[in-house]
Symmetry: D2
Subunit: 338 residues, 4 copies
């Protein structure tokens, strides 16, 4: 940790600062410049509170040299983590995983039909929302438990593991029992209470990136889950808010090489929510694979125009198959499979 003090700080205040740091068990080296004095703190600085130091009226700036995360940090866990979802390995050099399905579960017959279509196209897991975060209290909020149980039926028939979003601690038992991969949505990425709660689950977590979150904040949210005891976290990029009006959000594929370097956890890309437009899904799915993503989560619907939610961003099963077929060929160029 590097601390710079303001121009004209009296020597006695500098001395007080040094003593207070030393009292907290770190060594301090002082560099005296023309306009500023700089202190370099050496040792375990994780206990020091950056904000508290900043509050000292003589301190100008505080800079952490080390990353603020540990369990998620590749520095301390060099090999890729492989996360298993109902036996399917995700991450490392494993096969790229393809998750497909409707935005919202719409009924038993529909979700079974969807699951069969996803499986037929070469998909490995079924997605479907039973609890939907909606901006408006008047919009359809999902089928709830009924939707979860219908997905379970679809799993029984097709064997596809199921992925669904958890919005509340109240439903943790339900998800622990029925859902294979528990999604935390973008709007809850910094719902720290919920992160701690899923950190005590025995199921892997798919952690979506917040709409305006930095990658570091996102990793810190994964750190919350890991620090609460659950090491099985998968990142999911779903687009960030930008000024663009031609898409709903802007897909940020740079997260793939960055997360691979900073962390050992897998990363999956969701081009459907990012763009909000099925016409851009194929192009960006192939790009995600070429970039090195560990998986795709794509909205697939047999009849997009009749979908209850987000039909505009859903591709039909035939196109989903096409995407996976081309994606497989691209995966092979970079030494992966799908």
């Amino acid at each position: 940790m590097i601390i710079s003090t303001k121009h004209g700080t009296p020597q006695i205040e500098l001395d007080k600062l040094v003593s207070s740091f030393e009292a907290q068990g770190v060594r301090v080296s002082v560099i005296t410049g023309t306009d500023y004095t700089v202190m370099g703190l050496v040792g375990d600085t994780t206990r020091l509170d950056e904000k508290r130091i900043r509050a000292n009226p003589y301190v100008d700036n505080v800079q952490r040299i080390s990353e603020p995360y540990k369990l998620t940090n590749r520095l301390f866990h060099q090999e890729d983590s492989i996360i298993r979802v109902a036996g399917i390995p995700i991450g490392g050099q494993e096969k790229i995983v393809a998750i497909g399905g409707p935005c919202a579960v719409e009924g038993e017959a529909e979700i079974i039909e969807a699951a069969r279509a996803v499986k037929g196209a070469g998909g490995h897991m079924l997605r479907g929302g039973a609890y939907k975060p909606r901006t408006s209290p008047y919009a359809f909020q999902g089928l709830g438990t009924e939707g979860i149980l219908e997905m379970v039926k679809a799993r029984e028939i097709t064997g596809l593991p199921i992925v669904s979003e958890l919005m509340s601690e109240e439903r943790i038992d339900e998800f622990e029992e029925y859902v294979d991969l528990v999604q935390i949505g973008a709007r809850n990425m910094q719902n720290f209470q919920l992160l701690k709660a899923v950190g005590r689950m025995n199921k892997p977590i798919l952690l979506k990136r917040g709409l305006a979150s930095t990658i570091e904040e996102w990793i810190m949210s994964a750190e919350y889950i890991m620090a609460s005891g659950n090491p099985n976290v998968i990142f999911c990029e779903r687009g960030i808010r930008t000024f663009e009006k031609y898409t709903r959000n802007t897909l940020d594929l740079s997260v793939v090489p960055i997360l691979k370097r900073k962390s050992h956890l897998p990363v999956i890309i969701d081009p459907s929510h990012a763009t909000g437009d099925w016409r851009y899904v194929e192009s960006l799915s192939l790009a995600a694979i070429a970039a090195g993503a560990d998986g795709l989560i794509i909205e697939v619907h047999q009849h997009p125009e009749a979908a209850w939610s987000d039909g505009n961003q859903s591709v039909r099963p035939e196109r989903f198959k096409e995407i996976l077929d081309k994606g497989r060929a691209i995966a092979q160029v970079i030494g992966r499979d799908l």
Copy 2:
């Protein structure tokens, strides 16, 4: 609602669309342009699902003419709402309210001293965090129930109502019993589960704006609370995320005239969290009052350099008094008091 269809949409598809809207009880007027056909829907369009219409492959664009909110909408509630917090009225032409106190409750003696200082400076309520949303799982997470009870002591001694942040449904009973104004933090602005839960409380809610939320999304979150039965919502602007590096966030004072026009609910400004720097608090507090805000919430600490959290953004009690004194004079220019 205005729907435009794509160039070259067959007449039969246009007819199908019209029939489907009419079947949902709205009247449809059709305008045929050179390149596009436009449908104007008249009647109660709140039941129509915008996203579902957009999913129709022949639809190019859907535009809502009416605002998507009702209970919070000034159109349907012309007079200003006055929200009472432990008897203190907020909003309309009532006195501008001044809330002060530390970021985090740090102990009984400290919070009592803070409450006395806030009261002595002319403040009307005491703020203090007992549950702290922190980016890092390793950072101080607040004193919890102990902190709430210490604030209650401070209220007993000074008579100041207390304001604190609620992060979890689990703590609703505690807040219902002890806290006068229940804050929903920026990171939970779209934690819809929590919004519904506080919508069932009997206490007024201070709804902070999300870091990257639009004003419409913010109003929709207030709508969630009101739709769940709690009409006592106060907006609190605390800065939005921008590219700026000299401040933590960017205070958006344009929300004051905008919220006054779009909604009937009061709005309070938090310049401390917005800027993250006490040196900018006075200037922006006075600006907030001149803009027409119904209140200020300011971090006040006797010893900012020793604060456990956010000391850098806390002003000392003497400066808090100065801000309120100047603020009062400005309030009078625009026909208010403080």
Copy 3:
């Protein structure tokens, strides 16, 4: 164009609006709703000034149905434009073009060496900055004419066409004479004066996207160039400003399918400036090709640690070759070549 008027607009004002539109040669259909009246304008609305209509106190909203661009619009130019740069075709199903070279020209020997390395790795053109836009007036501003002439030498030796940034109208003659592909930098994307000036040049233009520009604004800047007489415009995505701190900017690959749909002009991707970090260049270059880009522009330097400018984002020639080799294989999966 769709115009909605405010609740309670008197009939006489509605009539005045209708007459004023009809006087400008468009037909008006009126839809009367419960709370609003909506007017649909049919005919050539490009002459109508949106802002002027909005200034009418009874008008609530104005929405254009048609895109505001014409020459760049795929709607009126269905086939892909192929832009030739010194004989090399870019766009359509042509070979993907690879442009490499240093950020700044650093001397004759260096640029010749760079050109040879780029050519040896399979690159098709040489990039190099002679006029550098720098945030600080004290930073190195480029070698100017000397740098351009050194690039010309490198072209003579290797045959590679040269790409360089033009910052001022003053240098147009120089660029017309010497440079093969004239780059307009991100900070000048809305320097309308310069856009009009290069619209009168006989050289193709590489139009970089502004740091916070929407795709529509970017297309409108291309429209400026085309409307001034120069049809040879190539888009270049170089990252947009976001909240991210781990990269300089955020590369937006969704522009590839969007531009392909909205426009007929080619699009090239610059992963070096976008990320500011050579470690992310390979991953995002391959992603760009998979997404369907028509070319790559990559910073290549033999000794990145000795580069005068932006060494941190430069890849060495060997890695450049690797990227192109893998990129070629990916291109073939989607039916292109490199």
Copy 4:
């Protein structure tokens, strides 16, 4: 300047770095941590190129301690600069200046009428655009020289100095001769060529903030002008791009206390362009004055609904007078006048 190197950097590379810095005339103190080594550079580091240092493969991070600007920096120029525009002083404790007028000059009679109205309401200068930066090449681009000459007529009649935007070096002679305060628009804030050119003018410059610029970048653009020889720069905040849809841009009033602390130059606020809506102009004008701004620039039009450009954001002369009257009372609270 503080440089941190990567974990595992060999001693020989550390030594090389130290020698290279010492060879450039600065002293280096080295702090050896557990995971990182940190170097503190003392002396004149302005000659060192940050980007070049970053390109060293062993360097992890580079942090400047001093601000990158000098001439604009309050550190080296403690007293407020007072900039005179045709004799009217702006800045320091001088009277707050009120600039009013139409977005675009629309004709001689109109601009004279506008000037009289501005003067009658208590305004001190006349604004008007003769060269308009427009997103579309098909939109009205301003009356050009004719518009400038019409403003000159209005000045002759009313005595109000005139403010107008310069978009091109070509017109510098015209502006030097006729215009009292030369505006550089938001889109040209980083048109470095133009900044250098106006740095050679003998007229004061009103430098608008770029739509997505940080305050530091804005100050650096002022530094360009000052470094080219023109010390008379006034900052003008006109809103930044955010995600908000209810206003055109978001006015950032925090720039007032920040610029006052970082620089000695005056700052003027433009609430009309920021919000794009006259209904929010009064509220934010009063807020700007309370925040400590040195002036306001407001769009005033006698017949907003007939304005050629931006009528929706123009206030009528009567309201302009009201704003100035209330603003004067607020100014007095903070010890200023208007």
